[in-house]
Amino acid sequence: MSKLKRTLALLATLAMASTAFVACGGGDTESKEESKADNSAAESKDDAGAESEDAGTESEDAGTEGADLKLADDGDCLTIVCWTDTDLNNMFDVYTEKNADAVVGETIKYQNCGMNGGEASTQYATYLNSGDDVDLFVAEAGWILNYINDDSFAAPLSDLGITEADYADAYDYTVKIATDNNGVLKGASWQAAAGGFCYNTDIASEKLGITTPEDMQAAIGSWDGFKATAEQLKTATDGAVTMCATLGGLWQCFSTATGAAWVDGTTLNTTAVKDFTAMAKEMVDAGYVNPAIDQWTADWTNVGLNGETLGYFYSTWCLGAGAQLEQNGGTAGNWNIVVGPQEYFWGGSWLCVSPNCDNAKMAADFIKTFTVDATTMEEYALYSGDFVNNKTAMNNIVSAGTNSNALLGGQDQFAVLADVAAGIDMSATISKYDQSLKDTYLPALRDNIDKSVDEVVAAYTSDALAANPDLSAE
């Protein structure tokens, strides 16, 4: 019997040892205790910060007063979940300059959980559910509806004392999209994602003889002009330089400009897909664009770096320091931007509030700073190159005429894009399926580019329904 006891004792010890190992690994409990210890210190810091803000006597501070905050304010670090961090880095630069109590990594930080743009939406759900600290999260047009229509992910902005009235000066569509099925505002965008066509001025002047953006716009102001210019370029370079880098860029310009919806209710809408497939095939067959180059890949970057494409379709968030324009060869300043064949927009990101937010004060202040406060938004636009979601701010910048983007050889992208931004309205066509359908269409197009339009559409329809079985074909 004693042997049995000894055995049991040994087993118990082993079990305990193994749990000890596990506890080491967990790390979570440890950090929580740590954060509790830090709490008191952080709180006092927070208070000090709030007071100093009050001293600044900004009118909107009335809104951030405790009474309107329905969410907790006992956390020590404002955590923003995002899937690409270029914007947040720029925002943090601007924000920390204004707020002494915002220290990146200590009282404010971001968590980049996106493996990449398309997959980010799937990563979000698990991340937001995982119990890790989340105060705000950034959602993209392609999949924002999935999150704001779920109360366990997104809380109303009114919980932070922010109402629709704050957005009188914003571009309307940004407010409409962030309003959920029950009419509650759940997100605020800092940008109006107008897009344009950026081209390499060296290639344009050498091969096409076009030296000013005005001439370029005159040449490619329509799809016919775009194709004619492409033909000219092809002849001049023996097919070594394509007109634009990717089918993905063309698609973005074509589809959003025509205002085509991916779905009507739960029925797949393939009108735009058919039209674009025909155009894409024409352009690929003629050699104006290389179908093997995927959007956002290293190849996409390389064709720009190596001067193998005339231009890219870029949204405003591609034009700032450290963004795509720079990465794809814009460092020498030999690029210009024009509106392109059609006015279009690309993407757009919203700041949403998690119901588990525990830094309400700073969260509210952060959202207001970048989506309501015209002064800071103007500053941010100039700093980051992004087209901000505030008409006054943008009008000020354009009318002052002092903005010059070094990457664009001193050109002012805001002047080019101001009208485009005013015309954006995707609120009627956006659906929760958009990201998934876009991710299905472009590969289907690429894989079947040598087949007929009907075959491409059939392949897309089949893949789209397999990915979203609750949709039906036309």
């Binding site: 956002w296 190849d299 079985p469 609750d470």
Partner: protein, 341 residues
């Protein structure tokens, strides 16, 4: 003959120790695996997306097997599932067969005492090495070397040597499958080789000596001695490889350049992962993922039993039968004895 102590020990029942020794395994298994398994089973009878949690009976199976479920896109979903099933088998066969042949050949060479091979140890070490590299890194390594365009190493090198157009190693439906088979073989042949080597080394050397004395040539030795005696370890290799093959995930899932996985490489495991992790609860297809899981389990179990059946230990079965017969005879005799008493 037995001593008193031995007799005493024989009379003690040790059964309770048996249960104690296997208890941790089963406790942990029940807690971490049985409930999830049952849960997956339940999920396979429940709805998807907005209908999640609702009981839908066999609808998910109907959808992914026959394309007749209530979802409008049922037929297409079935197409995707069947394609993923096909891909799983193609990719498995395509890496298992070259892998086992290569490994067997190498194992025989490395254990052949007559072959004088300098650096044998070094070769073994190098060949096992790919197996220790994280699959995520392996996929990244190959994508970065074999990318589709002229901006990647292999295509650039080939084009420097005179190739006209870059080869689509990553996105071509056929070439990408061959690449995945190659990568899987690259990853696993060393492992299989070492398993088989240990099996061959476990064979009684006197058998080889006897065969040699009898004048058997190396082919005869291989087919008449090595292969039959290697059977248990071959079964183990087969079974583990089959299980691994049917749940192949990392390389097919990560071997792509665009934003999403390549549908031409979609295996059942990728199908399950993708449908289960589609974002919010409203987006995820728990039901289809669950049904696909159960189907792949049934397939594995069938194939596994099949393998076991064909490779069962014939001696053991014969012995068992003999024992049974002896028992019967013994009982019959006892009965007779009882009657005669």
């Amino acid at each position: 003959m037995a001593s008193a102590a031995q007799r005493r020990i024989k009379s003690i029942s040790y059964a309770k120790y048996g249960y104690m020794f296997i208890a941790p395994f089963f406790l942990v298994y029940c807690f971490f695996q049985i409930w999830p398994l049952i849960y997956t089973f339940i999920l396979s009878f429940q709805g998807n997306q907005a209908n999640n949690g609702q009981w839908v009976g066999l609808d998910n199976y109907n959808t992914i097997l026959f394309g007749e479920g209530m979802a409008a896109g049922a037929a297409d979903l079935r197409g995707e599932f069947l394609q993923s099933l096909g891909n799983t088998f193609i990719l498995w066969f395509g890496n298992f067969i070259p892998q086992i042949l290569l490994s067997l050949l190498l194992a025989v060479w490395f254990t052949d005492a007559t072959v004088k091979l300098p650096g044998k140890g070094f070769f073994k070490v190098v060949m096992y090495m790919p197996n220790i590299i994280t699959a995520a890194s392996v996929a990244a390594l190959y994508v970065n070397l074999f990318g589709d365009s002229k901006y990647y190493f292999i295509n650039a090198t080939l084009m420097n040597m005179g190739l006209a157009e870059p080869i689509a190693f990553v996105s071509d439906p056929v070439i990408s499958k061959i690449m995945v088979m190659f990568i899987q073989t690259w990853l696993w042949f060393g492992n299989t080789m070492i398993m088989l080597m240990s099996g061959i080394m476990g064979i009684n050397p006197s058998l080889f000596e006897a065969a040699n004395i009898d004048g058997a040539n190396s082919r005869q030795v291989f087919f008449r001695v090595t292969l039959p005696l290697l059977q248990p370890i071959m079964v183990y290799t087969m079974i583990t490889s089959m299980i691994g093959g049917l749940q192949m995930f990392d390389i097919p899932f990560l071997y792509h350049t665009g934003a999403n996985f390549d549908r031409d490489l979609e295996t059942v495991a990728v199908f399950i992962y993708y449908n289960f992790n589609k974002g919010t609860v409203e987006q995820a297809n728990y039901g289809y993922a669950g049904a696909a899981s159960i189907i792949i389990f049934v397939i594995t179990a069938l194939l596994g039993s099949f393998t076991f059946y064909f490779n069962r230990d014939k001696d053991e079965i014969a012995k068992k039968k003999q024992r049974k017969r002896a028992m019967k005879q013994y009982k019959a005799r006892m009965k007779q004895g009882g009657l005669s008493l």
